[in-house]
Symmetry: C2
Subunit: 210 residues, 2 copies
């Protein structure tokens, strides 16, 4: 059965991006440090049509497995704006991407089977469409943090995978700022560590009062 | 050689205690949830002279190993006030404890070889005394968060051990709020996971510009 999952890199102090992010400052000030373990893996770079990168390590495998399970993405407007200015012509998704925005815009098809759909429908409806598109694959709630929070708070996420880097960022965009924490509990499924990052895979259990 | 270390349980969103902590509300609102994995281990309960608890699991071993390595503690006034009202007559330290406070008070000896020393000397001087007391054992910077931050920011800590519980607390006392993050880097030494908590042991490397 198709899963809905969140998969994000965070700093040890809980930020998924630095402050002042935008089209000209993707990931915000110093935000790239959070993801430095990822940016040097071949599995990540190849999706951005960049050469090189490391292979034969667990970080590379984790990224590859994550890409392979995704059948559709849902993201917020700010994440899209940041990406639109920085992704290569062949966007790194290779499947449908739903962008939650009030802006009216026709679907935007990119090389490599990525199509962006712009929608202001409610998050349940959008998820239903994404699940249909994904088929046997999974739906990733890509970000940013507002969209992740909306889906978590609505009880619509099955798994959250955190990649905790050994970095203290000090300020930025906090992942767990506005979570309805009493709606669910987290259950550790797997922990994988490597040199620079600790990967923790959580299953999300809805609490019984819901 | 004797080490200086921090060893704290934190929630997944980075809190070491809930809000509104004090003598009548140790660990703050809901703060006990962060440490629920610890409060059910025999190695922890026995230090508080309480019966029962689980054995034969990695969490229990980690707590026991931590207690055994400590030759002296340094803590802040608020942590002491909270503990003074709640520790058993035989305080759970069994070694010298330096309390950083401007309050003048004679050393307070407790059953079981714990002596509390109250001092307003600078943190370097206090650490020197604690190291002498600890001998071949290690010095724990026990908390609260202000004292941990002071010692981290001064570059005086060798290791930080985080026990990351699978709990989102929402609000409380944040561990990494006022860290001079550019003074040091963190290097993963070991990661141990169990059912409810992920233990990450970091070595602290001072950065070269210091």
């Amino acid at each position: 059965m198709s899963k809905v999952f969140v998969d994000v890199g965070i700093s040890l102090d809980g930020f998924i991006a630095g402050p002042n992010g935008g089209a000209n400052n993707p990931l915000g000030d110093e935000g790239i440090k959070i993801h430095s373990w990822m940016f040097k893996q071949k599995s990540f770079l190849s999706h951005l049509k960049l050469e090189g990168g490391e292979t034969n390590n667990i970080d590379n495998d984790i990224i590859e497995n994550t890409f392979n399970r995704i059948g559709a993405n849902i993201m917020g407007k700010n994440m899209f704006i940041e990406g639109e200015a920085n992704w290569p012509e062949e966007s790194p998704f290779h499947c449908p991407v739903y962008v939650l925005t009030h802006q009216k815009r026709k679907p935007w098809e990119r090389k490599g089977d990525t199509t962006f759909y712009f929608t202001d429908e409610d998050i349940h409806t959008v998820l239903k469409k994404a699940k249909t598109d994904a088929g046997n694959k999974d739906v990733r709630i890509s970000g940013g943090v507002d969209v992740i929070q909306q889906y978590l708070n609505a009880g619509l996420v099955d798994e959250i995978n955190l990649h905790i880097s050994s970095i203290i960022l000090g300020k930025g965009v906090r992942l767990f700022k506005d979570i309805d924490k009493d709606n669910f509990s987290l259950e550790i499924q797997e922990v994988i560590n490597s040199q620079e990052v600790t990967h923790i895979f959580y299953k999300i259990n809805k609490l019984e009062h819901l």
